[in-house]
Symmetry: C3
Subunit: 137 residues, 3 copies
């Protein structure tokens, strides 16, 4: 059993946005040569998160932004007096920065419609970092 770790860096173009990072994960798994394992995906940044979600088209990604805006409105939080981004922190905390994905037969063990998304809740940002830690055989 061995471990590989890598940090990928991406940018975002909107305040709130889901960005598909599955190709980065697939490349990392393939390059390791591991056949069986687990991949931990971790979003650095207290206004960002990781969500596994459908990627048939943009509709579900848009719905996620709409849902979170409805559940967690802007401008009504104690933290807004400081940064004006109280909603961004709450969205990030509720969705969460980590997901752990199985590696099966040398590939990410996602189902057909599951992709892994970086969730931007306080963009746009030039540099967002996601840490991949892979343990496998």
């Amino acid at each position: 059993m061995q471990m590989r770790q890598s940090t990928i860096t991406i940018g975002s173009s909107q305040r709130e946005q889901l960005i598909d990072i599955t190709p980065h994960l697939s490349d990392f798994i393939e390059n390791s040569g591991f056949k069986t394992g687990q991949l931990s995906v971790y979003a650095q940044g207290a206004t960002a998160a990781i969500m596994v979600q459908e990627n048939w088209d943009d509709s579900v990604q848009n719905d996620v932004v709409t849902l979170l805006a409805k559940l967690i409105p802007r401008g009504i939080w104690q933290h807004d007096r400081q940064d004006g981004n109280g909603d961004s922190h709450l969205k990030a905390g509720l969705v969460g920065p980590s997901e752990t994905i199985p590696v099966i037969q040398g590939k990410a063990g996602l189902s057909t419609w599951q992709n892994v998304f970086f969730c931007e809740f306080d963009g746009p940002r030039k540099h967002r970092h996601i840490v991949l830690t892979l343990i496998g055989i």
Copy 2:
């Protein structure tokens, strides 16, 4: 340190339902012979998730379905134009498909009232797959 991986398959009988999968996890841990470790549980399917929740009786499981129906109503999402299951995807994404459980003294390190549930959000389905990846000593 060694790794074991297995996929369990279950069925669901309702559109939205929590199904206790703890016995499957306990069997898998016991069969490994590992005394200390961690077990990653991953639900395949973009309308399914994993939740750790109380299992004293059905009340909390029913409450989870009620809560999510209240927070994420049916029929108002952009994705509904395609599949009519926009709410299922949003519920799955918010709860999340992965939880990582410790293994302590040869058993799942849950507390007395914690059990691990597969969350069905777009059933009934005959076949739902959950991947278990166990690393231990």
Copy 3:
């Protein structure tokens, strides 16, 4: 690659409260001597959870309690007929008991403003247990 496991015990002073446990995690990582790895953090207790959140001051922690009280009100759940804490279980299930954090260059791979919090949803309690499982090299 090696594994370390430890359980930390903390108390809570309020019914709903976020408690920063990052120093415990940092000590555990430093004592292991591992340079690269992953740390799984798991809250035992069906009315508790783990959330990664900002720790600049108390404002976001207060906002988390406010948000969850708004999304999941007290006293309207089926489980309340038994324990009166239906909301506590729902909050715990939605936030979730596990987060997996990378270890980078011998330290927790958090960003500047990310800290790891134990979420109490049914306190005060004298003893709450959090299991740390660390795999590293």
